[in-house]
Symmetry: C2
Subunit: 419 residues, 2 copies
């Protein structure tokens, strides 16, 4: 039977069947499999680039923006980088079969809580071909099958990447159905994936806030919410100027298009006279446009007056909002109202203030005296990043391979019954 | 403003505000608070029983079954038991502020992953007043506020229980809005709760498979799925008769109405002649009706022929299904098809068979040579049970207080920026 005649649900059922084989692979087999996938991507580089050219032409005709076209573009070097990323994931420690708890009950029952693969991991994402390879590699490395639904703008590219990866599975005696794509089914593919409860064990949306919102509200498959970051840096009354400036500039300007980049600076009123003007000057020097409230407008030159909308905006650009707050209570209120619970950082020399901020801010990552750009799986030492979870269930903050596993209790007895 | 004039959403927002105070309570304060709640329940016992009588009369008029009326009934002794259960939860270790991971990065950043309350825990359940008190106590002990939506048949009882608990909060200087009930809003209350994403952090449905299914498919608040158990005991070729009989009888008959009770026995064909008749005899002696496939009907007397439906049924009664399978592959296929991924147990003297079963069965708890009745938070030593999760995200198997917490990363630096 040819895969193209199968419906979305049939493909997911095949992935579920294949997941049983993947789950049984040991560490060495998974490492070898990912090595083979990397080699296959290198080997098929020409076909992948050719398929990508088709998507790019179609994208240009349909008026995709230059930045979207850039994200979509694969040349031989970028394909090589994709393969290299798979090799890195191959080398990470196996997250499966770790014994997380162990005890023997008074009745002699021996209990182990062990890490196990989820089974089938689904992902819905936008037209970034690197996600296709990333998610597949991370899912397989953690013993899962994967169902992919990428942006239709990358359909040919994804098909070529999936074909390369599937061929590596087949050549290694592994059921190729462990990697499935639903790109061919358009919107229906996404809908079927979100309704595949009982087949797909967890769904990880990657992309815009709108895409994530759609998946979270519509999916009956459990979702791990990643991403959106309206990230705050709070300059406390005692914030040393140089530290405040360097962290604010780094948090905003080092890479403005990512979720851990700062979007709003809050300044304690008692520090505003001393600190607003030089911090703004440092931001301006870094090419950042500052959207300020009335107090900031009074204290510094070249400020764009902020509107209510600015406080809730994830700019993803060289723009930052700045507001003077009465005190820490006011800062905490502002954060509660506008934060997406990703990362917030306080800059202060006052330990009590730092500890209060760390305790009371309800975000995945809370920081004192550090750039928010450190919220990252690589920086945290996870070796790979599945995404940054902004929800509280299962995983919170940067997710590595371990977050793509579940657990099960293994109970060994000798005939015990309950009294 | 009186609480009765507030809408469901307003009540949940008040719970969210109150959750900040609950989250800051230390271990001793939470223990004292739960002690005060237990005392208030004892103190208000008469009012609670009186309110319960109103529900019971209404229930009798509307034709509730005897067993539902029994579950709904509270007398002074049962109210005392509710208070005692709260005291037990009060005495459990605080699940909050545990340091789960800790490391210092090469750049000097100090990272801690600490356990934190979810914030607001919601629960939708049926007309069992004990759940009202259980969930509130577990939520508060783990530093969370709670929003309750119980069965309307218990509305007066729940209102009296909630009033007693809220009075204990107020008397201890804690915002009473940390316990909210939406019973007065009927179906709308449940709908609003399922749509309260961003206010309610996690939703735990408790009750029938149908209720849980509704919540899982309709809620945009993340759900922890608990409960339904189509639980299998597999008698392997080498299963010793006495062990097989005692475990099967215990797993079914010790308490047939609970989710960890066995519903289906699978027997290896090579053991069937030896074992089916005496196991059936033991089940019959325990008052169990056996629904068997053709092979079982041939091998034992007094069998009710099983239909396809039997394999998927959670009887919750003294009924069990029994089927002869060709071998372990056949048993694993059957389990994959009909299991609700709660608990399955193999009875065998063959270690290799046991290990294969433990590895390949994809359930929250997998057992060798033990009664499935041991899948229980109390038996596992958790001290309290929030429910038994049959999903793979966040928690799997019996959930204790720890499963009502999330985590956050706390990062302490000295001015680090990312290079």
């Amino acid at each position: 039977m040819t895969v193209t005649t199968l419906g979305a649900r049939e493909r997911m059922l095949l992935a579920q069947r294949a997941s049983r084989q993947i789950a049984r692979l040991d560490d060495a087999a998974k490492t070898a499999l990912l090595g083979a996938i990397a080699d296959a991507i290198d080997r098929d580089s020409e076909e992948i680039v050719a398929a990508n050219r088709v998507d790019l032409e179609r994208g240009a005709e349909s008026g995709l923006s230059a930045s979207l076209l850039d994200r979509l573009t694969l040349d031989e070097a970028r394909v090589g980088a994709l393969a290299e990323a798979v090799r890195e994931v191959a080398g990470l420690p196996d997250p499966v079969a770790r014994v997380l708890e162990e005890k023997t009950l008074p009745n002699g029952l021996h209990l182990q809580k062990v890490s196990v693969p989820f089974g089938v991991v689904g992902s819905i994402y936008e037209a970034r071909p690197n996600v296709t390879v990333d998610i597949a590699a991370l899912a397989l490395r953690s013993g899962n099958a994967v169902v992919l639904r990428g942006g239709t703008a990358a359909e040919q590219t994804n098909a070529a990447l999936v074909a390369a990866m599937r061929s590596a599975l087949t050549e290694n005696g592994v059921d190729a159905d462990a990697i499935q794509t639903l790109d061919a089914f358009g919107r229906d593919g996404a809908t079927e994936l979100m309704n595949a409860r009982g087949i797909v064990d967890v769904l990880v949306p990657r992309g815009s806030a709108q895409l994530i919102e759609t998946v979270v509200t519509q999916s009956s498959v459990p979702v791990i919410e990643t991403g959106a970051g309206v990230v705050h840096v709070y300059l406390d009354e005692s914030a040393p100027l140089e530290r405040a400036s360097s962290i604010v500039v780094n948090a905003k300007a080092q890479r403005p298009s990512v979720c851990n980049a700062a979007e709003t600076v809050l300044v304690h009123a008692g520090a505003a006279e001393r600190i607003v003007a030089p911090v703004v000057a440092a931001l301006h020097a870094a090419g950042v446009t500052v959207h300020g409230d009335d107090a900031v407008v009074r204290l510094a030159d070249g400020i764009v007056p902020a509107t209510e909308e600015d406080w809730a905006t994830e700019y993803m650009s060289l723009d930052i909002a700045m507001r003077v707050v009465d005190d820490m209570d006011d800062a905490l209120d502002h954060i509660r109202r506008y934060s997406t619970h990703h990362t917030e950082s306080i800059i202060t020399d006052d330990d009590a203030a730092a500890e209060r901020f760390l305790a009371e801010v309800d975000s995945a990552v809370v920081m004192a005296n550090a750039s928010t750009r450190f919220t990252d799986g690589g920086e945290f030492g996870f070796g790979a990043e599945v995404g940054i979870s902004t929800q509280k269930l299962h995983a919170r903050g940067p997710m590595g391979l371990r977050e793509l596993t579940s657990t099960k209790w293994v109970v060994r007895g000798s005939g015990q019954v309950r009294g």
